[in-house]
């Protein structure tokens, strides 16, 4: 067959034009312009150093010679690919642009905002009573932590003190939430590393905790349970037995996970020395939570700056050594065990009393009283329509959520709605560690590393 019979140029031209136009339209619909990773020739030296994480490795005052950048490549040898936002392994709608040389990752840029919900703006339109419904949907794997930090910030502005039982119930629920969040993490992490059984086991255990939540609060997820003023309802009858069953079962099953994953050679090979982070890099990037603890820094807000009643129970702060994937895995696995220990202690020490503050200006009265007392009816009406007023001021309160330091900066102007509510989401800040961790690694490790950073896009994008 000679070339004359098949005039390739003509066919190419026709097909390419049509495809090029279509591709251009498709690309235009979803491109995010300057937010994306730009090819090397368009990036200045300063930005290249920053994107490759070299800035963090420099002692202050030193300037890097552009020729010294490790893994230096020419433009035509590298390829920029796009991972996400719809992707099975990016843990939600995270979009990662990676520059690859073969299988090696050179530069990374996370592009977020695909789940931006305008929650901080919405919070300015909702009263403080309604606020926890909004905040709870940020970090949807540990919704009670969000509610807790918002309630603590509101109570700090109100200047009220919680009854002891409310505090201890909050602690119980938050620790249960930590267990369920870490179990979910172990499930998805196992799945990303190839172990589908871990996914099923993790969800099976999680169902036990969620059914306790449903019994107590009415909802499995996004429970609007911890509110400013206390908690929404008392613990159900027989809760100690439920807690005992949960604790015993999950504690026993964590040793099964050891058998399945911790000692397993393939798991060890895939996670040890992958995505290592030093403590200096972590502190420079404002990383908190299990990632920081895995690098060896024993910083846990429950121990160092205690809130609720954490200074009255006994627990250990789990610390790693190398800051690699395996350390993060073992920190979280052992945090499940520590939380179980804490839950047992809380169940023993739970005080009797009110589950919410008795101040009628803040807490609605019991429903039965509304039929009897006019005052109760008026309070109920005012709280649920106008809301309670919070004195002018500002507060920043931080707690230790399963992902790190979760902070709420609340500004009040004296009305019944927050003037400004800003939530410091740990995953938002922790995502900055990705370019540092992925550099020099393989593409397959990228999936494992993203999973071990445990981002929850709800609190990243808010």
């Amino acid at each position: 067959m000679s070339d004359d019979e098949f005039p390739e140029e003509d066919l190419e031209l026709e097909g390419q034009e049509h495809l090029a136009a279509e591709e251009a339209t498709l690309y235009a619909e979803t491109s995010e312009g300057a937010q994306e990773l730009l090819p090397r020739q368009e990036v200045g030296d300063v930005d290249l150093r920053r994107e490759t994480g070299a800035v963090l490795r420099l002692p202050e005052g030193n300037y890097i010679n552009p020729d010294d950048i490790d893994i230096e490549r020419r433009d035509d040898e590298t390829m920029i690919i796009n991972m996400g936002p719809q992707h099975p392994s990016t843990h939600g709608v995270l979009r990662l642009m990676l520059e690859l040389d073969g299988e090696t990752v050179l530069r990374t840029k996370p592009i977020i905002g695909y789940l931006h919900t305008g929650m901080e703006k919405t919070a300015e339109e909702l009263t403080y009573v309604q606020g926890s419904t909004n905040v709870t949907r940020m970090d949807y794997l540990s919704p009670l932590s969000n509610e807790l930090v918002f309630s603590l910030a509101t109570e700090a502005l109100l200047g009220v003190e919680m009854p002891p039982r409310a505090t201890w119930i909050r602690m119980l629920m938050v620790e249960l939430n930590r267990v369920s969040s870490h179990l979910m993490w172990m499930a998805t992490n196992g799945m990303d590393l190839g172990s589908t059984s871990m996914m099923i086991y993790g969800f099976r255990e999680r169902e036990m905790v969620l059914s306790f939540f449903e019994k107590t609060a009415g909802l499995r997820m996004n429970l609007n349970y911890i509110r400013p003023g206390g908690v929404a309802a008392d613990l159900p009858d027989g809760w100690q037995d439920d807690i005992e069953v949960i604790c015993d079962t999950i504690m026993a099953r964590t040793f099964e996970y050891d058998e399945l994953l911790t000692g397993q050679p393939i798991f060890r090979e895939r996670t040890e020395a992958v995505g290592s982070l030093t403590a200096e890099e972590a502190l420079a990037l404002s990383i908190t939570g299990p990632i920081l603890r895995s690098t060896g820094v024993p910083w846990d807000l429950r121990r160092t700056m205690p809130y609720l009643a954490y200074d009255e129970i006994d627990f250990d702060v789990i610390v790693g050594t190398y800051g690699d994937n395996f350390d993060r895995y073992s920190v979280r696995l052992n945090e499940i065990r520590e939380s179980i220990k804490m839950i047992r202690q809380i169940a023993e020490k739970m005080p009797a009393g009110d589950y919410r503050i008795q101040d009628r200006k803040v807490t609605p009265p019991p429903r039965a009283r509304i039929d009897e007392s006019m005052e109760a009816l008026i309070h109920h009406f005012k709280i649920f329509t106008e809301g309670f007023r919070v004195p002018e001021g500002e507060a920043y309160v931080a707690i230790e959520s399963p992902r790190g330091e979760l902070g709420c900066y609340l500004v009040s102007d004296g009305t019944s709605k927050p003037y400004r509510m800003h939530i410091r989401g740990p995953s938002f800040v922790n995502l900055q560690v990705l370019p540092v961790l992925l550099r020099g690694g393989l593409m397959a490790d990228a999936v494992a590393v993203i999973s071990s950073v445990d981002p929850v896009m709800g609190e990243v994008d808010r």
Binding site: M162, L283, A284, T304, Y307, E392, A398, F428
Partner: protein, 188 residues
């Protein structure tokens, strides 16, 4: 410790831990640039209100004084609440940039609030001091429109690239769609 030496417990949240440090190099928050106006606060030792020009200098001083990490940086638009409490000598502007620093060694937090005028919303970037504020400053730019001078990549982070306006400003409406049988309240 609080300004008068006592430890407060507000709303079940312990104030800054009353661990007193005998380390000679540790810096008490009031010693850092003492001429900058301050306010006492229930929950943290102090709120500092440096002027825009001294902002980066103050943050750098805190960093060398043992504040290893920046917990949070955000921006607030005070358009509809101009009468907020400020110390003497600080002129209220429309925007404020709020920085929360954390010292792990001293277990203390400080908060720095910088006034940023509306006509010229430019403030120094802290990326060289604390690389972790990279994403936080981008968010403040995206949501409120503060321009951080010296930030290497000041692009939008949460909104699409072609979005116009800064959503968390008070004159940007919520964008509420009217719902049948429920009146749609306007912006504040």
């Amino acid at each position: 410790m609080g300004a008068d030496g006592t430890q407060r417990r507000a709303g079940g949240h312990t104030a800054v831990s009353n661990v007193s440090t005998t380390d000679e190099t540790a810096v008490t928050p009031y010693a850092v640039l003492p001429e900058v106006p301050r306010l006492a606060d229930r929950l943290v030792d102090q709120l500092a209100f440096p002027h825009r020009d001294r902002y980066a200098e103050m943050v750098e001083a805190f960093r060398s004084g043992g504040y290893e990490t920046c917990a949070d940086l955000c921006a607030v638009d005070y358009l509809t609440h101009p009468g907020r409490t400020l110390p003497d000598g600080v002129q209220a502007e429309r925007f404020e940039v709020v920085v929360n620093l954390l010292s792990l060694s001293q277990r203390q937090r400080v908060r720095i609030r910088v006034q940023v005028p509306e006509a010229d919303p430019v403030v120094a970037s802290l990326v060289d001091i604390y690389p972790g504020v990279d994403a936080m400053e981008r968010e403040a730019f995206d949501m409120v429109g503060i321009i951080f001078e010296g930030h290497p990549d000041l692009t939008r982070i949460l909104m699409p690239e072609d979005w116009e306006g800064h959503p968390l400003r008070k004159d940007f409406g919520v964008g509420r769609v009217p719902v049948q049988f429920k009146e749609a309240p306007g912006p504040r």
